[in-house]
Amino acid sequence: METFGSQSLREAFGEGLVDLGNRYDDLRVLDAGTKNSTMSEGFQQSFPSRFYTVGINEPGMIGIATGLAMTGKRVVACDMSIFLQHAHAHMLTAARQKKGLHLVIAASHTGVAVGPDGGSAHDVTDIARMRLIPDFKVISPWDPAHVKRILEVVMEEPGYYYIRLNRPKVPIFLKTPVSFEIGKAYRLKSGSQITIVASGDKVWTALQVAEELGEGIADVIGIASFEPFDRETIVASAARTGRVVTIEDHLSQGGLYEAVAGVLAEEYPTRMKKLAVPRQFTTSGEPDELARLYEIDKTALLETCKRFIG
């Protein structure tokens, strides 16, 4: 499969933000002490008067971001994901302001892909937490090109958006122009034996495994939009294959597995397997090493699919 180099999702985010800054004069960006990790510092360098260095104060940052949005501005608040846990009540209260506000929250450093900084830096529950807040659209991009397109889309309409980024370099596999619609799942490969549903950078893992399984075996469904969630595409694929595997760099609790299982339990009960981070405190290690350890890598997915197909 063709790739177009590599870049981290957060670097793509930083570049994308600068593009948006050129397009939208009313865009304001905030960071709570992590601008050289989230890569929002590029925006600050280009548009210093439209950037807020809030300091290490996540609740305050989300509160201020909400207040800025209340004055009619487009607002992007950035942070390393794990720290946003401090600000959960503030995010909930942001969305409570109802219609008209335009607020994007972008979290870098999600999943065990954070790597050697260890378990206290791995945020493997962010999707679950954000799915709990009404009105938030929850989006997990697959590659750097996806990030840039998603940033353009979330600027178009007011609303509350959460974008999940991560730390390491990942392959760019989406061809530009990238098509992306909120609320839509994408069927990236077609097959009749098994459905692989993947989110975030695990979509690339799923595509590689599908190729190894051979032509026409695996249906690969890429999920970027968790909320709203595309039920029809999931059900249609399960109906074609009768077997569904999910893979995510997140707990299964409140994550991709439970989202898919919830739909299928209601509409088309289907046997499932899951590859997800276990509900335990995770350890330090290189991203690849951790993906292997927690069995959310290519090898684990390939073996799971083969066993499942039988």
Binding site: P59, G63, G67, M70, A89, L92
Partner: protein, 252 residues
């Protein structure tokens, strides 16, 4: 009093503590709002961070003409009403922010003030200032920047839901972090107005007014300033009569 008695729930005691503070603000010579056009861009803003005080907000905005009082009395705390148990943002009705847990609205207000030219007032409770997130706002003028159009109003009635509250060195801490701090009697019209006039005349600092108030002031004198009435409406006609009698004796 009648509103909360009829609704059979709501925070009368906190609302009564804020009567002069709220009316003294909206009827001051500087406050700008347009009840016929709640979204007017240049309006001054009042954020209510201690959301349980919303009954006074609902009554004052009805008085100002944002909506008919009848709608409030007919729908207070009912499903899908514009008058929820804690405020929901509704610019047409003059409600700038939806409430959440304590310690949140004041940050939103500060954020709005950073981008606005008009004045932003934010009402917090003294108990609310125990929240680390509220105390954190004290550092905002230093860590972020001072906001000359921001006025934090602290309702210092000395009582929270389950215990008395001592604001401790709030005034000293505020000054140390760069606030202009004013202390005033929240039930004396002149003192209230003087505090506001001083606050709006200073334009290079974030301002904080600590209003000394009495929880339940102007209601049943047997309950005013005492622990145990938080969020408790008058339970029957006799209790309501005691509140109204208290109010009438205040007027004399």
């Amino acid at each position: 009093m009648e509103l909360i008695y009829r609704t059979k729930s709501g925070h009368l005691d906190t609302s009564l503590a804020l009567v002069e503070v709220w009316l003294g603000l909206v009827y001051s010579d500087f406050f700008r709002c347009d009840p016929k056009n709640g979204e007017w861009v240049d309006r001054d803003r009042i954020f209510l961070s201690e959301g349980h005080a919303c009954p006074i907000q609902y009554m004052v905005n009805a008085e100002l003409g944002y909506y008919p009082k009848e709608e409030l009395f007919a729908t207070n705390r009912r499903p899908d009403s514009n008058f929820q148990g804690h405020t929901v943002r509704n610019l047409k009705y003059g409600f700038e922010n939806s409430n959440g847990s304590l310690g949140i609205g004041l940050w939103q207000a500060y954020g709005a003030a950073l981008e606005l030219k008009s004045k932003v007032f934010c009402i917090v409770g003294d108990g609310e200032m125990q929240e680390p997130s509220s105390l954190g706002l004290l550092a905002a003028p230093h860590n972020l920047k001072p906001c000359g159009n921001f006025i934090l109003i602290v309702n210092n009635n000395g009582l929270a839901q389950d215990a008395s509250v001592d604001i401790g060195p709030l005034s000293i801490a505020g000054k140390a972090w760069g606030w202009h701090v004013i202390e005033a009697d929240g039930h004396d019209w002149k003192s209230v107005d003087d505090a506001y006039q001083q606050a709006v005349s200073i334009i290079d600092k974030s301002k904080m007014i600590i209003f000394k108030t009495v929880k339940g002031k102007g209601g049943d004198p047997a309950k005013a300033g005492k622990l145990g009435s938080h969020g408790k409406p008058p339970g029957n006609e006799t209790e309501l009569a005691a509140y109204i009698k208290g109010l009438e004796s205040e007027r004399k």
